[in-house]
Symmetry: C2
Subunit: 187 residues, 2 copies
């Protein structure tokens, strides 16, 4: 993977978070990188190829965040929320989670990308479920039994919350975050 390719992927990530995959263009990339549109096509022949590369990058950062958090020396019961917080921190202001953005465009994505988006979506929920299971085993979450349901609740709310934040401001996401804390500390 060349430096330029990585640079293009990172910039594409930025555009996906701000505008979505369908709404950004090769020309947007070209202008910001100071090269021509055809120069981008040289690195990623079709837009779908670039999209798949971005998905692969998203997979990698997800697994990276996961292995980081497993090694960290914090209380196991805190890890679920730290995971969500780390993930949310990767989203810039006035943007949304890139996975959410890809889900929004899902119906019009090339098949190869749909497959990847499905995998990542599923994997993220699975990871949070595992962290919740660890937390429970460690003595937390006494009242909770349906940890898959809890993981689904937290993930969907976090993603939805980031989307609302764009419209209603930072204060709104703070409310959601406070609710998360209260929800997980009812032991």
């Amino acid at each position: 993977m060349t430096k330029k390719k990585k640079q293009i992927i990172l910039l594409t990530m930025k555009f996906i978070k701000e505008k979505g995959f369908l709404a950004f263009s090769y020309d947007d990339l070209a202008k910001e990188l100071g090269i021509t549109k055809a120069g981008i096509h040289y690195h990623f022949e079709k837009k779908g190829d670039l999209g798949v590369a971005v998905c692969t990058y998203l997979e990698e950062t997800l697994e990276q965040t996961y292995s980081d958090i497993k090694q960290e020396t914090i209380k196991t019961t805190d890890k679920p929320l730290v995971f969500l917080s780390k993930r949310a921190a990767q989203v810039d202001r006035h943007a949304v989670c890139p996975i959410s953005a890809l889900q929004a465009d899902y119906n019009d994505l090339p098949g190869t990308m749909q497959e990847k988006v499905r995998q990542i979506s599923q994997r993220e929920v699975r990871i949070l479920t595992e962290l919740l299971e660890d937390a429970k085993q460690d003595g937390g979450l006494k009242a909770m039994d349906d940890l898959e349901g809890l993981a689904a609740l937290l993930i969907t709310s976090a993603k939805g919350g980031l989307q609302y934040q764009r419209v209603l401001g930072d204060a709104f996401f703070s409310k959601v975050w406070t609710a998360f804390n209260k929800l997980l500390k009812c032991d």
Copy 2:
């Protein structure tokens, strides 16, 4: 409001839920209605005009659902979830909540639409908060105090859940829904 105008608005709603506001075109509408693109422009000169009309329609259906639920003879403690259920029922399969779709395109929307989307988003949260307050006053939700936070949690999760449903299937949204029920019945 002519019949044709309403017909266009309803079809636009369908496209927004399936593809988003930016991704559907006047040509899509024209083909489905059996008239030409210019025929749509006759009724809604700019795409933004059509967008505002759709937003107004969304406002009306939201208020309609609200006044319906206030009059219904069901337990006050059940009304928050019935509200969410009624709202979710208005979303077809493999589509998302139209408000979510407009939030996703928010940054590229004309200013007049942004204002409307902000208002509707805020109003929906407010309505759910009121229903939760009524439920608490009626004896439910004993453990809960931050009802604004709870409303934010439920709304964001419902919206996020519908988006995940598109990718991971109906079973996923069911998990979220089950979590809602457990969450509100801890009295």
